[in-house]
Every structure is written in C-alpha cells, then in structure tokens.
Symmetry: C2
Subunit: 511 residues, 2 copies
C-alpha cells in the first residue's frame, strides 16, 4: 500500500536512514516499529527503517533526519511516496546464524554490505554480534567474514611488494614501539603502511603519539603516495575507510563490554588484508591486566591468527610478549613521542622499549630477507644505532607534513607537574597498567597532549620512603590535582613491603 | 569528571532517557557512544544513555528529548551538571547469560526492573533477547523470568477466586472464541478476566472484535471493578500494564522475525500470573500455516506450559486444536462480532466455532467444578442454548460501557462488497490462513471495522465453476478493489482439481 506523506525535515543526524511515521499511518500500511519502507521522489528512492510516534509527526506526515533529506533532496513541506519494503535478505542470514548454522561467504558478503551501507538497525546488528559471540564460527567462516570486511571498504594498492605490517593486541600502556618499528623496517627498504588507532579507553593510541610529530589523517590515495615514496607511514586508521564494518561492530561490542575473540581476529586481519599485507607480526602481550591473561590462551590466540592468515594469503607470525607493566617509562602523547625520539636519537632509553621494538622489527627484517634467521633483532638494533632509523623517521615525518628536523628536545610536555613519592620502603613488585592509564587520563591524556606520566622506577628496583616514584604532567592545574588525588588513591606502584601489610586497601586488586 | 552543560531541549520523544553530547565533551569526560551519564539539577537527578554528535549540539551543550526535560524539569538554555555513570548491574547479568550461565531470580529481577524502567539501551536489550533465544534456559530460569515479568508491572486482585483464564497461541484467523468462552464461563458463576491483543499482523485481534460491541480500554482498577461485578471482561491488554516487559521484548523480536519459544511461554504465563489466574486453558492450534506445525511440537509446547504453571502456582491445561483453516466463516472485526453474537443468540452458526468454543469453555467448567469430568463441553453448549451465555454477554457489554441490548442484526458490516467465484470445479482441499489474512487486511481490516471476508464454503465441500466461494466486505471502493485483485492473485481457496494442474501458480505454497 502506497501513501503520499508530507515531509517534516528534522535538523538532526541519526547515523542511519530512519524515518518517523505517525502510528495511525503505520497501522494503515501494516507497518510496525523497525519495519522498512521505500521512499520515492520523482528522481530518487531509498529504503529506510520505521520509527513510530503518536506525537512527533501528525497523521499524513513523515519525519526525516538530515541523512534522508540530503540523499533524496526533499524539503520541509514537500511530498514523498512511501510503501512498505522487505527486510534485507541479510536479516534472514543473521537469523540463521542465531540458529547456529554456518554461513557461506556470499551470506557474510550480504551481511557486511548491509552493515557498511547502514542498512541494518541496531537491533539486527546486535543480534548478529551476539550470535557471533555466543555461537561457534568455523575457521572457514572467520576467513569469509575477514575477507568480506576488507573487501567492503577501501583497499590499498602499494607499488612495492611484498607489504609488511605489525599489530599489537593492546592493553599495555606506553607501547609506542611502532614509532621505532616502522622507521627500522622502512630504513631496511621494506614496505610498512602502519595504520593505528586513537585512544578510546587507553591513555593514548599510536595515532595520538604520532600526531605530536606530524599530521596522521590521510585518505587511501595519500597513504599510497607517502608509502610509495618513503616505504612507511604511521597514519590514523580512522582517516581511511579500511574494513569499516569493524567500527560499526565496535559500537555494539563496547556498550556490552564484550570482546568476541573471533571478531577481534577478523577485525585485525581484515585491516591487514585491506592494506595488502603479505606478512604480519602480531604482538600479543600477556599479563594479569592485559587482554590475554596467560601463555596457554596466548598460544591459542596466536594459532588462530596464523590459521586465518593461511586461509586469506597472509603469513602471520605472533610474538607473545610480557604485558604485566607499561612499556618504557613514558605514558601520554608528548611524553611517549619524546621517549621514542630519544631512542631513535641514541640517547639513553628504557631497555623494555628498545628490546621489544627490535624484537618485533627483527621478525620483519628476517621475513623480508634483510637479516638472516636469528639475526633480525641484531640488525634492527643496528638500524637504531647507526642513525638510519632516525633518518627514515624524519623522512616519514616530513612526508606526513611534520617538521623533519624535530628532535626529542623540541617536544613540549605538560608544563605543570608533580612528583609522587613512595609512602614506604621496599622492592617494586607490581606496576598496575590500569591504574597508570586512569591517572594519565585524569591528568588530561590523550586530549591534552602534554599530559601523562613519567615513571621513575621499574619493577624489581628498591625504593626508600619518600623517593620519587613517578611524575605526573598536566596542562591544567585542575586536572593535575585530580590526577594526583587519584594517584594517592590507586597506588599504581606496589612495593613488596606494602603488599604484605596493606592488601585490602589496594583497589587495583579488584581488577 | 563533572561538566556543566547548557540544555538544548529537543521537541521529540525517543521512548527512553537518551541524551546527546558533543563528541569533544564526550571525549573529555572519557565517554563513549552508549555510555551512561548522571544528570543533576538542584532538585532532581537521573541516569541517561549517551549519544554523541559532531553537529547537532555544540561543545558545552547537551541535547535532551522530552522524556528528560519533563522528568528533571529543565528548559532550553538552562544548565545541568553531568558526570559519567556506571553501567547498570543488569548489563553484567546479560553478559553472563551470553556466556551461557544460568541466572538467579534476583538477577532476572534486576534485568526486568531495568527493562521496564527503560534503563537498557536497544543494544543491551537485543543482546539479552538474543542470548535467551540462542542459549538454553532451565525451567527454573523460565519460572524466575515469568514471575519477575509479572511482578514488575500491575497485578490484579480480584475478589472472587479462583480465577480462570484462557489463551490462544494465535496464527489462525476467525478465532473469535473468547466472545463465547468468557460469557459461558462467567454465566456459570466463575471468574474470567480476559485481556486480549489488537491485531498487529493478523486481520483482527479479540480486542478489535470486542470493541465493535463495547469499549475495551480499561485500567487495572476498572478491570477489577467490572470483573467483580459481572465475573468476566474482554479488555484490551494494552490498556493495562500487565507484564509490561513483554511489549518491550516484542520490539526486539519482531524486527528479527524471531519467536523465542521460552520467552513466548514466559509472556503468556506472566500475564496470567499478573491477573491472578489459578487455572488457565492454553489453546495451541497446529497446522502448516499456524505457529506450531505438528502434533509432536504441540505436545512439547504443552508440556512446557504445564511444567512452568506448576512452578508458579497456576494449573495449566492445554488444548491442541486444528489450526489449518479459519475458525468459523467470518474474518474482520464487525463480521466476527456478528458471527459471535449469532452463536450466542442461537441463530445458525458455523460448527467449527461452536465446537471449539465449547471445547475450551468445557475444560474450564470442569476445572471449576461446575460440570463433572467429561461433561464440560455439554454444559458449555447448554449455557449457549439456554440463552444464559447471551444474557451474561449483554451484562458484560453493558458493564464495559456498550449497549447491552445489541443484537447481531445491529452490527454494521462493510457496505461495499464483492463476491469471489470459483474458477474451476472440485473439492475444497485447503483454505490458506495467510492468504485470507492478507486479503482481509487489504480490504481494510482491522482499522475499517466493517471490512473483512465472509467465507461461503468450507473444507471438503464440492464447488462448481462460477459458484461464489467468499465475499469481501470493505468501507472504501479503493480498498475493495485492492482486496479483490489480491484475492485473484492469491487463490486462498484451493480445489482438488486445481491443485493438480496449477501448483506452480499458487503463491501460497511458498509459505
């Protein structure tokens, strides 16, 4: 049944094609909340999801958000034709997945097309994610989904192949190793188009750190151009549409606080597939406060990456790393950029940073035939020591539009700071990743780029009462105070002595 | 972190506490799409779900829908304080259910409180329904959920106990038996507070039919008052807040076209628990186009009702009925009201209607001790024949505010009609429930109360070419034409001869 309805144009974006009908009109047309309608003007037509109301729009009217009025070019008071429309076929596929049936690649293709076309309601999307979370997926299905997530998005086509890449599973603060790995690998003449995320719940993402040194927002064409020229890039993944279904899935996973393992593997590898990677190192930190808690789980996870890689034509190698404390001593965008530059400049730098970065870079150098088997780490260290990695980093910074002459001394860290001192004497037995992140965020990271934490002790060292243990940097007095207060509450650095006598008082043990 | 934000009051209802923050403010506060915030004014505070935007509201502003501005009494341009808030505990319970763990009654209670308090986002709600659909529930869990659905809503407290009730699973058009069952049972001196639904996808619900004779929208207090006076009522369930979580669940189930069995059983029994029922007959029609397709599935379904009933203190008896064709010959609100009145008035009426209504009423009469074992159906028939059921129905119509003197002749059916004739000769082998519903809806049912279908043949009878087989009634020429066109396409009445030679042309076989 077709109806002519009068447009009420709402001045708002809702992120999808969703229209509002009066309940009476909806009932006339046999339509129900979340059904779909086809909207027609003389020139255009689209499908949209139905909201119903008794009050917002009257009988004979249809409320349209900006997305719809723009797409079909109608204005307040205009008329459009509306008819009921079928559910997309992919909803049927989602229901079959809920019924525990394996899906074909064509079915995953249909679903992902509707996901990225914003053609599924939040309900349908959540049902899909819930089904993937609750039910098993075969490795074939994981491969289908990965490929379809990549193919329904932009794909890089880089000149110099093979293409190398790395990915860290995350959960460990201070993990700025990409700022070392990318220039080392590119300096060795290999191609490494690194896309990174910004912080969501962490203190800062690699993209936040790199942005201290150069712009990070590039489209696919710009990335190709920079990588073809320099061999490497450190760009923000959100600036380019790689496997865009992932961002939409996250909108469902995040509020449920679920992290479906299969989908996480698909997301990582889909982005690698989309940049055309042939070889990928996956850094899997394990630790009580990391995403993966023990070696066994780490190995299982690693095997899934490798098996999926085999199916989609990517050689994956996994590095299971120690994730029970921050990497290096700096946490926060500017502090981390400074620490990474110091390492490239051959100034004193934390061994945890140097070791991890050269471990990961070394794996790539060996895979790329630039170093012999077992000689990768040494070769990577040599690119650092020789200044070749620094030269390449400056070239990349310049290509991304930053100042290629930048040095670690130029980096401005938060001018306001306060030293936190030890309340007791003892050996440092634990540094809480989660507490460190909370304090850095309270200080203003990642938005206040100068905010963050500079650790002054590491695990195993002995401290005396009133020794400085870390420094908080901030850009505003208010945030500095907040962070200091939180630091005193959370005790992110735990001493052996304290552990014995104060256990019940440490909120970190709740994690 | 607390922020003071300026109110932008949106003139729209969104059905939940949902606020819109600028992305920058959200990032400052460490908030993410669908996180929760606490809103404070000097006098009030509530928790709401966060939407983020780059455009709709600027930095320093917060967009509030009518639900929020009303509740906390703020106006455009006012200021409120906003802080991040925790996810409700029930989200953790939902995630545990996704992880296949059984939940306790306290956990179901927490979830249902948040469901009816509109405190869960659509994503959280969908994850819950998906988990219940995909994972198993123990019978204990089904009982917990049922009780909590009822207890988090209105509960009737009727004077005269025990309380009897009936429920039909649905899917069969023409099923107006409640209009006979309720007056028979009430005439026998038993209490039967029947609440019914309106049509959503069917041609008409019992509430739509009863509304031809009397108002059906009553609150809990009014229902108690009418039932205490007359022993019975036929009210619209939507007018009273019985097990309101059900309506919210349906908003998720419907767009996914899923019908989680466990949840359906919970919904039916929760409403019965809420009216205080002690004994319930469940009518389970089976047929190729009904909700339950075969006897085995019907029996399994029946056992679940009975077992759940035992746990929550309701004696349930199930009647598995023939559901492969419409009940009676009339489909559509006025046509069905007329047919039901004719049966009560002892005028000729279809045996399928009389048989089914007295079967179901008979079970209740036996349970109520009004008839001996095996004598219920005969007793029910006697209440019809004696005119006692008609007298009681008139009393109930009057109590509900209708005209107690109404007769079947007074009912106005659609003045426009067209006879559909047979295109061939043969025996009627099939009457398609779904095609009949589609045609009746095209003719205008349930909204045009006079619209619908009057069948003129029944299964097994022989018809000749050009014999009238059914009549379409409508209130508008346009809808009549539409319905006639659809009738000629769908061939709702299938003859043996036709079946052999025209099978591929019958769209009904697609169902």
């Amino acid at each position: 049944m077709e109806k002519r309805l009068k447009v009420r144009a709402f001045d708002m974006e809702v992120g999808k094609y969703e229209v509002t009908l009066n309940e009476e009109d909806a009932r006339d047309m046999g339509l129900h909340l979340r059904d779909r309608v086809r909207l027609f003007t003389d020139h255009k037509e689209i499908t949209a999801i139905v909201n119903t109301t008794r009050t917002i729009v009257g009988k004979g009217q249809i409320g349209l958000p900006l997305e719809v009025t723009r797409t079909i070019a109608v204005k307040e008071g205009g008329e459009i034709s509306v008819t009921p429309a079928e559910r997309p076929k992919s909803v049927e596929c989602i229901r079959r997945k809920m019924d525990r049936q394996p899906l074909t690649e064509a079915e995953y293709s249909a679903i992902i097309k509707d996901v990225v076309g914003h053609n599924l309601s939040e309900i349908e999307l959540t049902a899909f994610i819930s089904a993937l979370y609750i039910n098993e997926m075969t490795m074939d299905e994981i491969a289908y989904l990965t490929r379809q997530m990549a193919m329904n998005g932009e794909m890089l086509d880089l000149k110099k192949k093979p293409v190398y890449d790395k990915h860290s599973i995350g959960g460990v603060p201070g993990n700025k190793i990409s700022l070392l790995v990318v220039p080392i690998v590119a300096a060795a003449g290999l191609t490494i188009p690194k896309t990174s995320s910004r912080a969501i719940t962490s203190a800062c993402g690699t993209a936040d750190i790199m942005e201290v040194l150069a712009p990070v927002v590039f489209n696919a064409h710009e990335i190709e151009e920079i990588v073809n020229r320099t061999g490497g890039i450190i760009a923000w993944g959100g600036g380019v549409n790689l496997a865009p279904a992932d961002d939409i899935f996250i909108q469902v996973e995040y509020p449920l606080a679920i992290d479906p393992r299969n989908l996480m593997i698909c997301s990582v590898m889909a982005k690698k597939y989309a940049v055309g990677a042939n070889f990928v190192v996956i850094d899997i930190p394990i630790g009580s406060e990391a995403k993966i808690h023990d070696m066994e789980a780490g190995k299982r996870f690693a095997r899934s990456f490798i098996e999926l890689g085999e199916r989609i034509g990517i050689t994956a190698e996994c590095a299971i790393t120690y994730g029970d404390k921050p990497i290096g001593r700096a946490i926060g965008p500017a502090l981390e950029a400074q620490e990474a530059l110091r390492a490239l400049e051959n100034l004193p730098a934390p061994s945890s940073l140097l070791e991890k970065a050269t471990d990961i870079a070394g794996i790539i150098l060996e895979a790329g035939g630039v170093a012999g088997k077992g000689a990768g780490k040494g070769a990577a260290m040599e690119y650092l020591k020789s200044g070749k990695a620094l030269a390449k980093m400056r070239e990349i910074i310049g290509a991304q539009g930053g100042d290629p002459r930048v040095t670690s001394k130029d980096i401005k860290v938060g001018g306001l700071k306060e030293a936190i001192t030890s309340t007791a004497e003892g050996y440092v037995t634990h540094i809480s990743n989660k507490a460190i992140v909370q304090i850095a965020r309270a200080a203003g990271a990642p938005k206040d780029t100068g905010a963050g934490i500079a650790l002054q002790v590491s695990k195993g060292v002995k401290v005396k009462k009133d020794d400085p243990i870390f420094e908080i940097h901030a850009e505003s007095e208010y945030k500095l105070e907040q962070a200091v207060r939180l630091a005193k509450q959370l005790h992110p650095i735990v001493l052996e002595g304290m552990l014995l006598k104060r256990v019940p008082e440490f909120p970190i043990f709740e994690y």
